[in-house]
């Protein structure tokens, strides 16, 4: 009985903050856009979904987003593994400082860091300034507002989240495992591929998904660093909502994105449950 008292408000909070909004998204997707505030009236209109399916623009946006997310997550993993291995390999008393060093960029503010990238990559930015100064380039290279800049910003923002799960898994492993492998004749690279990698695979998968799922809906980085053609779903949703004031379409887009991400999300929850 005492438990019910503690459980009830928590259930209420959860259902209100997490479950209800999704239901409301569904309701909104069927609503009718209108003028006025708020810009819709309730109804049963399928046009939003029809538009999603018929206009290839939206499908392309979803695909572009998934591609960006996958590339970002993949790159992050590639860089995260050495970082995590390096961090796990130092003496235990240096681990906490290294962890702080890893997470500090995260604590300094997302938007500020993007400002730094802009400052570096724009036509009058530091990189071009250096290139001109060194005589390598005459005219400024268009570094900003490119796919490359966008990707750099994405990886820079999401990297710590790929490192953390792998690092945690590494320090939980029995160090005797590596010694045993070496004793049985395995060279360091072999040890990595035959022992370390298989054992940290779930953590690596978790790291991948931890980047992939939120990156699929990323808006700010493509908007600030990417080319205008990079119409990923996050940007499209934002535009439909804020510029076109088409709330039902935005809701339908959000649902489409959620539908695409259901499997990765379930996979991620399953990984977390196993840990």
């Amino acid at each position: 009985m005492r438990r019910a008292v503690l459980l009830a408000p928590l259930w209420a909070w959860l259902l209100l903050i997490v479950a209800a909004p999704v239901l409301i998204l569904v309701v909104m997707a069927f609503a009718i856009p209108a003028d006025g505030v708020p810009p819709f009236t309730l109804g049963l209109r399928f046009a939003a979904f029809v538009m999603l399916v018929e206009d290839f623009y939206y499908a392309k946006a979803l695909l572009a987003a998934l591609r960006l997310a996958a590339t970002t997550a993949g790159l992050c993993l590639l860089i995260a593994y050495p970082i995590a291995l390096g961090m796990a390999g130092v003496q235990p008393r240096w681990r906490l400082p290294l962890l702080a060093l890893l997470m500090l960029p995260f604590w300094t503010g997302f938007v500020l860091r993007l400002g730094a990238w802009i400052g570096l990559l724009r036509d009058e930015g530091l990189v071009n300034h250096l290139l001109r100064g060194l005589g390598i380039a005459e005219a400024p290279l268009p570094l900003l507002y490119t796919e490359g800049a966008m990707l750099a910003g994405m990886v820079h923002a999401y990297l710590p989240f790929a490192v953390l799960p792998i690092f945690t898994a590494l320090i939980r492993l029995d160090p005797a495992l590596w010694e045993a492998a070496a004793d049985l004749g395995a060279r360091p690279a072999r040890v990595f591929f035959s022992v370390t990698l298989p054992l940290t695979l779930p953590a690596a998968a978790a790291g991948f998904l931890l980047v992939f799922i939120p990156a699929a809906g990323e808006f700010v980085i493509p908007e600030l660093l990417g080319p205008p053609e990079a119409q990923v779903i996050g940007r499209v949703l934002w535009q439909e909502f804020f510029q076109n004031r088409d709330w039902p379409l935005a809701a339908a887009l959000a649902l489409a994105l959620l539908a695409l991400l259901i499997l990765p999300i379930r996979w991620f929850q399953r990984l977390g449950a196993g840990a």
Binding site: I17, A100, L112, G115, I118, F219, L224
Partner: protein, 263 residues
């Protein structure tokens, strides 16, 4: 497990990649040049310009207030949820409970932002609260996803802490509530603090969700910065970056030093 030279080198490059933009941002805050990221001699003028930028300062204070309040709410709710998950054993709907907790952690911000806004609109239509959108709805939204993060952090700590400590306390005459207050709470205090800081930072950093749920009333710092950056870059951003890095860096250094001393 010592790691080889190649791994160490890549790790160093990785850290460099993370840090170089930030260090450059901070470094050029002290440049007199009006063009950002160009060196024009040492100067503190941009810090002065920042102090005079009322719009930015107002946005900063608003963000700080929202962040502190939402982090506190998040710790209360998240701590409670974590306690339930870690200590209550099986109960009906537990899997759903656990699954719902983790959801905000991974969902894309645009989805979370849009759905929370619609929730607030619906609530307003149904019961008249929350009235309008602005700082308060931002607060609610941030408390909402902050709760998820706090719950995860605290639950991890609770799972580690020995159950038998609470039982020992009860065996010695403490009711469950007193056992919680005298034994569990002190032990998870570091996790609660870490959770608060995490929720605080996430709130302070958030552009997308705040944009969706706030309407036009009141701007937060990240939103103001975002608008600025869309148009161009001024060295005031460098100055702000330098201040933030200084602040966070010293807070972290102090925390580390305290932990180092304890060990």
């Amino acid at each position: 497990m010592k790691s080889g030279g190649l791994v160490r080198a890549v790790m160093l490059v990785g850290f460099l990649f993370l840090w170089l933009p930030i260090l450059l941002l901070v470094g050029f805050a002290f440049s007199a040049d009006r063009i950002p990221f160009q060196w024009g001699g040492f100067s503190l003028r941009w810090f002065g310009a920042l102090a005079a930028n009322e719009r930015l300062l107002e946005a900063a204070f608003l963000s700080l207030r929202i962040a502190a309040a939402s982090a506190t709410l998040a710790v209360l709710a998240g701590g409670g949820i974590a306690f339930v998950l870690a200590r209550f054993g099986p109960f009906r709907g537990r899997a759903l409970f656990g699954g719902l907790i983790g959801a905000p952690l991974v969902l894309p911000e645009v989805v979370v932002g849009l759905s929370l806004l619609l929730l607030f609109v619906a609530l307003e239509g149904l019961i008249g609260w929350p009235a309008g959108r602005g700082a308060f709805t931002i607060l609610l939204a941030h408390a909402g996803f902050g709760t998820a993060y706090v719950a995860v952090v605290v639950q991890a700590r609770l799972a580690e802490a020995e159950r038998s400590l609470e039982e020992a306390a009860m065996d010695l005459g403490a009711t469950p509530f007193i056992a919680f207050r005298t034994i569990t709470l002190p032990l998870i205090a570091p996790a609660l603090v870490a959770g608060w800081l995490l929720a605080f930072t996430l709130s302070l950093d958030d552009v997308v969700i705040a944009s969706f749920v706030s309407g036009s009333a009141g701007t937060t710092l990240p939103i103001a910065l975002f608008s600025m950056l869309r148009l161009g870059l001024t060295p005031e951003v460098n100055a702000l970056g330098a201040l933030v890095v200084l602040w966070v860096g010293s807070a972290l250094a102090i925390a580390l030093w305290l932990l180092w001393r304890r060990a």
